[in-house]
Subunit: 140 residues, 2 copies
DNA sequence: TTTGAAAATTGGCCTAA
DNA sequence: TTAGGCCAATTTTCAAA
């Protein structure tokens, strides 16, 4: 990881599908250099992958909620693992602070969110409290 | 948006740089069909972009914190806009629930996180309370 | 959907630091 | 030994018809 790698990552963070040749042009270097650096970052785990950024509203997910979960300590890992299994649960973090587990949950609407949180997920053994915060706007 | 588009998105969410030809093979259709569908989703805003997924630990960001901010109502938008300006603040959401603003902040270590949160960001007019939750592990 | 040209990717091999 | 340069074969993209 030197400055050139950092610049490559910055470009890919903005535009993950940009061709290596264009990145090379932009950084005034050769395509092979860029390519080999990217491959290296991929193989050593700096780059974990690439993904598409989707606007949830436009595909019928009108509600996205950052949802914290409190659990009894013994069930903490079990709950986190269970949460990962749900399609609607897009991200799962274990954290310090108010909640031990933080998630991002996508739902069609408020009704479905409540269904997911209280009926489906709420059934997981060990959950003490659920704290959903609906995202109003993603500003960055 | 039909079922085929949904399948394409699902594939790209896993592997954002997968060539159209491969997606086509996987879905038993032609490359040009896939490409035109993707272009359409891009132009109508369903696809907002593509990005690289970086492991922050491996590039010197040892600490990532989901950080909530409480503000006085009048300064709410001002604070959110200011937060967007910081390089270390990777994501900014306005939300319902405990905090009006939720962010994701990357820092080298605890010391730097505290520096960012309390010295740099803490200076923004209107912030009443800052609630950082350090991510221990991303499980999904 | 098919087709063909242009562009990008890949792998191998080479040199230089 | 590692990063980068070069070339040729393959694959992918893209815009026609």
């Amino acid at each position: 990881m030197d400055e050139k790698d950092t610049k490559i990552l910055k470009i890919l963070m903005e535009e993950g599908r940009k061709p290596f040749t264009e990145i090379a042009k932009e950084l005034n270097t050769s395509e092979s250099s860029i390519r080999k650096r990217i491959k290296k970052m991929e193989s050593c785990g700096i780059i974990k992958g690439y993904n598409v950024i989707v606007e949830p509203n436009k595909i019928g997910y009108g509600v996205v909620a950052l949802t914290g979960f409190d659990t009894i300590p013994e069930d903490f890992l079990h709950v986190a693992n269970e949460l990962c299994k749900y399609e609607e649960v897009k991200k799962v973090y274990t954290t310090t602070g108010d909640h031990m587990i933080m998630t991002e949950i996508w739902a069609k609407d408020g009704r479905e969110l409540s269904e997911i949180i209280f009926n489906k997920i709420g059934r997981i053994e060990g959950i003490k409290k659920v704290c959903p915060a609906i995202i109003l706007e993603q500003m960055k």
